[in-house]
Symmetry: C2
Subunit: 195 residues, 2 copies
């Protein structure tokens, strides 16, 4: 039996994106954003929604670039901190003590210790009420070598990304392998006459 919760922004799971940008003085900023996801395969692109009053909003508009840094579970504290403190009030990245470096292809900072980083060039903005959606073309993906499997492919278990659950207002880890995609459904397809 289902219960109606009304009109609320809930999906499971959301990612935890640490969005990197530089301000006009070249000061690195990071914000924690969970409203986002991939949005096209070609050009490869990712969307992240940011409120207009955020420091990152002005930074990204000005630099036309940002990074998406995906933290692992052992970075939960600093990831959460980036969502608690505004870069308008202080140099929050410097105060956190985490190491940043300039991205290779875009004018934005990346977190040295995040296992997965996307370098993005701003290609569109969409005003969607209280949030503006920033669409970034993914210029490059960088991953810690130790997060690649034996075939050289990224492995989510090695990245050990942090997830966010809106209803719980909590962070979770990735759990068990369930099945191979484009494979586990073939039984049903075959049963219905599809190869």
């Amino acid at each position: 039996m289902k219960k109606s919760l009304g009109a609320k922004p809930i999906v499971y799971p959301t990612p935890v994106f640490l969005v990197g940008s530089y301000d006009e003085n070249g000061v690195a900023n990071m914000m924690n954003a969970a409203w986002g996801g991939l949005c096209s395969s070609n050009p490869p692109s990712v969307a992240v929604s940011i409120r207009q009053e955020r420091h990152s909003y002005d930074n990204i508009i000005q630099k036309q670039a940002f990074t998406i840094n995906i933290p692992s579970t052992n970075q939960a504290k600093v990831a959460d901190y980036f969502g608690l403190v505004s870069g308008k009030k202080c140099d929050k990245v410097k105060l956190s003590g985490v190491a940043v470096e300039r991205a290779e292809f875009v004018d934005a900072p990346m977190l040295k210790d995040c296992p997965l980083v996307l370098e993005c060039r701003l290609i569109a903005t969409h005003d969607l009420g209280v949030h503006t959606q920033f669409v970034g073309e993914i210029i490059d993906v960088k991953i810690e070598e130790e997060c690649l499997d034996s075939a050289g492919q990224p492995d989510i278990r090695l990245v050990d990304p942090l997830l966010f659950a809106p209803g719980n207002r909590a962070y979770f880890a990735i759990g068990d392998f369930v099945g191979q995609a484009f494979a586990v459904g073939k039984d049903i397809a075959a049963h219905n006459g599809f190869e």
Copy 2:
């Protein structure tokens, strides 16, 4: 040491959205889409990207509505099947044997057995290369009562949602609780003089 993977659509994790729509004859369709996520808190809205050649594309444009059905891990087979077979070629929902019903507020079908369903009204489309992004205002969220915690709040552990990992091309479950959001980072904030 980081390695460059080039320009690829990879973030961890992505959700598994089963997108429900009706065609012009009222035949229910479901597709498996992982490129999407929440995109605004007010109006509460969700984005999902769909290729123009998909059956769902025409359906959603015509009906101006869709549902997002979030499967649990025990629905991996049927979720994958919805990504393997096109509704252009057959009545794939009927062939799968899963039960659907009309959504309460929008002209789209929902899966009876999915623990979490969003009823969405199409409010924007954005052409982003090979994918078109559909933005839906979330009119209602429906959840199985057994997925609510003792305080009546949605609990991701009870929903047990399926996740997708692009690099692995595989489905995973939610894992361990890591920490409370807007809380675990307070140590760092306090250390730097923020309340």
